[in-house]
């Protein structure tokens, strides 16, 4: 078993919270993991990505070769497209539909969505809206993780346990919100794959 995942977003959007849950679950199963992150200047509102690699065999490179990623998980729609050259021919693209506009020349959102829809294996999820509907606005990233869960190769209950462990200190409400968001995202993906 081996999954190579590109996480994409904008500096400050918290893509690493998604990485943390997948990472925790992988380590708990005794798997190997490598997770390359972006720190420094790009964090100031620039495009950021993380190369997350999990495997039951030792992993060497911290970077995923081009055309080899199994999935792209993005918290921002334009950012999901930035990493297409890394995606394998049978890879999946899972992305939030809600844009993060901090540049004057942000493209027409409809065209961005159309570009994503033209990709055969995609899940375009209204994560922010769905999270707000269950009064868990801060858990939009967990909706996206839920929508990615059918493709990660980790049993769903292991992701749930990871959320309980990681958000443990923040109290039951936070844990429950994140679990609800995760489930909502998963249901959406299973219906729309």
């Amino acid at each position: 078993m081996k999954k190579d995942i590109i996480l994409g977003g904008v500096g400050g959007q918290g893509i690493l919270s998604i990485a943390a849950v997948i990472g925790y679950a992988s380590i708990n199963m005794g798997w190997y993991i490598k997770q390359a992150e972006v720190h420094g200047m790009s964090q100031r509102g620039g495009d950021v990505q993380s190369n997350l690699r999990i495997s039951d065999q030792e992993i060497y490179s911290d970077l995923i070769p081009q055309g080899k990623a199994d999935l792209i998980i993005a918290v921002e729609p334009m950012e999901s497209l930035r990493y297409l050259p890394l995606l394998a021919p049978d890879g999946w693209l899972i992305t939030n539909s809600e844009p993060f506009v901090n540049i004057p020349n942000y493209p027409d959102l409809e065209k961005i969505h159309a570009e994503i829809r033209s990709f055969p294996r995609h899940v375009l999820v209204e994560a922010d809206k769905m999270a707000k509907e269950i009064n868990a606005a801060k858990s939009a990233n967990m909706v996206i993780l839920g929508a990615s869960s059918p493709f990660i190769g980790i049993e769903f209950d292991k992701l749930e346990s990871a959320i309980r462990a990681i958000f443990g200190k923040k109290g039951d409400t936070v844990i429950q919100n994140n679990l609800n968001a995760l489930n909502l995202g998963r249901e959406f993906a299973l219906k729309n794959m």
Partner: protein, 535 residues
């Protein structure tokens, strides 16, 4: 033993805690910052009373480490590659003094310049100063090498340079810790003149450093981190340095490389192993993450009969970091075909945060400078360097820490009017104070703008040595109090601030303006923590 998930930087920090350091000294700089930050936040380090100190600059950091090692303790100094330029005087002379307690200097290089102004290779400093270098391949090696490095340092009474690059510094993996070691007691050097580099004494010390070189080469030959792996096909021999080994292995999914491979992670590089590889193989390919330092040595001036491929013959790009695809292509392997990035995707460069004080400062400064035209503002290294981009287009230089003030002086001396220097508070205490003293002593007609946001912001908010004392420092350096102003960069103060900028820019002498307002990110963080405490 349970694996802990650590960044390469954090693995070094945990290694240092477990290897029994008594102190770590650093100036923040991507990609090295997280080493000292980790020790600073570690409960274990606090319980062990380990000093984690953000120094004014890399030179004072290395000197602090030299002093701690003089007193017999194990210590570490950390910086980014260009920080080692600042610390070079201390670092290179520490090779001559040698050390008493164990000392490791970590320099984190940034090939491809993700967050830096150049991609210089710190290994040259190790070679230059004749010190051993460790270059870990992965997070586990980074952890293990700290223990190993301190032993090496204490065995030879020499500092050790550890060189890492961005990809290892900022990538997480599982690391298994080993037993932790007690700290050294305070113990003076046996020879109380060891550190006195008077010429007569320095000559002796230098000879003993030279005499140690053969033994250090032997250390490289037998290092557990340097490995010769035989392969059946001798048409090609491969040498990898540091993390380049990972990219090689990535290209062979079954982990069997058909050619002989020499993996090097400790320098001086193992000469006998290199000789063996070169004798046995028809062609050699060299993978170095950084400059072609060893490749150049192998080629030599006369480009001897060996057939060598690498960065110097175009097999690999001359600049930038390596990756699995570049290494695969250099080996003639097929690279997966892939789709291109859709044309609709536009660039998203980093930008100043909404509500950032620098925005208000640049808008006011731009208005005051409008009558004189562009090209007169020298700036420095920090978040505020983003003022070079649209929509501000406010600054014209970013060279090295502190150069804003001294370049403004040089340009003013040349006759440029007005001449303005823009520098952050942490950069000012790092390397700006001496330049300001020059300008004050010469009463240079120029204006220095010190952006005081009370934090080292760009690297994620470390304590700034300048906090609360910027104006006092300027007054102490002798600035005329009439021409030294603190202003508050807010939209509502815009007219007032523009007037102060205009007045001082017109003044034919040295003036200082200090826009003072806390970094919006650090303010937000502070308020959230306060809120949490109340709960």
């Amino acid at each position: 033993m349970q694996k802990v998930m650590l960044l390469g930087d954090e693995a070094i920090a945990q290694g240092a805690i477990d290897a029994g350091i008594s102190g770590i000294y650093a100036y923040p700089g991507t990609p090295s910052t997280e080493i000292t930050e980790y020790v600073d936040h570690s409960r274990e380090a606090k319980e062990k009373n380990i000093k984690a100190f953000w120094a004014a600059n890399e030179k004072t950091a290395v000197e602090g480490a030299i002093g701690m090692a003089y007193a017999g303790k194990r210590t570490m100094a950390c910086m980014k590659h260009v920080g080692l330029n600042v610390a070079a005087d201390a670092f290179i002379n520490s090779a001559i003094t040698g050390t008493n307690g164990g000392m490791i200097v970590v320099s984190a290089d940034d090939p491809s310049m993700h967050s830096s102004q150049n991609e210089q290779d710190s290994r040259f400093y190790g070679k230059f100063s004749l010190l051993p270098i460790l270059e870990p391949t992965n997070q586990q090696e980074a952890y293990d090498m700290v223990h190993y490095g301190f032993e090496l340092s204490e065995r030879y009474h020499l500092p050790v340079l550890m060189r890492i690059t961005t990809r290892l510094a900022h990538s997480r993996s599982g690391v298994v810790r080993s037993a932790s070691r007690e700290q050294n007691p305070v113990k003076l050097p046996e020879d109380l003149r060891q550190y006195v580099l008077l010429p007569a004494l320095a000559r002796k010390r230098y000879k003993s450093l030279l005499a140690a070189q053969n033994d250090l080469i032997e250390e490289g030959e037998k290092s557990p981190f340097n490995k010769y792996m035989d392969g059946a096909d001798k048409k090609l021999g491969i040498i990898t340095f540091g993390i380049a080994f990972n990219y090689l292995m990535e290209n062979y999914p079954d982990r069997v490389v058909p050619y002989p491979v020499l993996k090097v992670s400790q320098y001086p590089a193992p000469r006998r192993m290199i000789e063996k590889l070169c004798k046995e193989c028809d062609e050699i390919i060299v993978f170095e993450e950084g400059a072609p330092m060893i490749e150049e040595l192998l080629r030599g001036y006369l480009n001897n009969s060996l057939k060598i491929k690498g960065r110097l013959d175009g097999t690999l790009p001359r600049d930038g970091e390596l990756n699995p695809n570049l290494v695969g292509a250099a080996l003639g392997l097929t690279i997966a075909e892939t789709v291109e990035m859709p044309a609709i995707v536009v660039g998203r460069p980093p930008s100043l945060c909404s509500g950032c004080s620098h925005i208000d400062t640049y808008i006011a400064l731009n208005e005051a400078m409008l009558p004189y035209g562009k090209g007169r503002v020298f700036a420095d290294i920090g978040c505020y360097t983003l003022g070079a981009l649209a929509p501000y287009d406010a600054i014209n230089s970013c060279v090295d820490m502190g150069a804003s003030i001294t370049m403004a002086k040089g340009a003013a001396d040349a006759g440029l009017r007005p001449s303005v220097g823009v520098i952050g508070d942490s950069t000012f205490t790092h390397s700006g104070m001496t330049g300001l003293l020059d300008a004050i002593n010469d009463n240079t007609p120029m204006t220095v703008v010190i952006l005081d946001n009370s934090i080292t912001a760009m690297t994620g908010g470390q304590k700034s040595a300048a906090t609360g004392k910027v104006k006092e420092i300027c007054l102490g350096l002798g600035i005329d109090p009439e021409h030294c102003h603190i202003i508050k960069p807010l939209r509502k103060n815009h007219e007032e601030n523009v007037a102060i900028f205009k007045k001082e820019i017109e003044y034919e002498g040295i003036s200082v303006i200090i826009p003072t307002r806390e970094c919006i990110v650090s303010l937000d963080k502070r308020m959230r923590e306060k809120h949490k405490e109340k709960k």
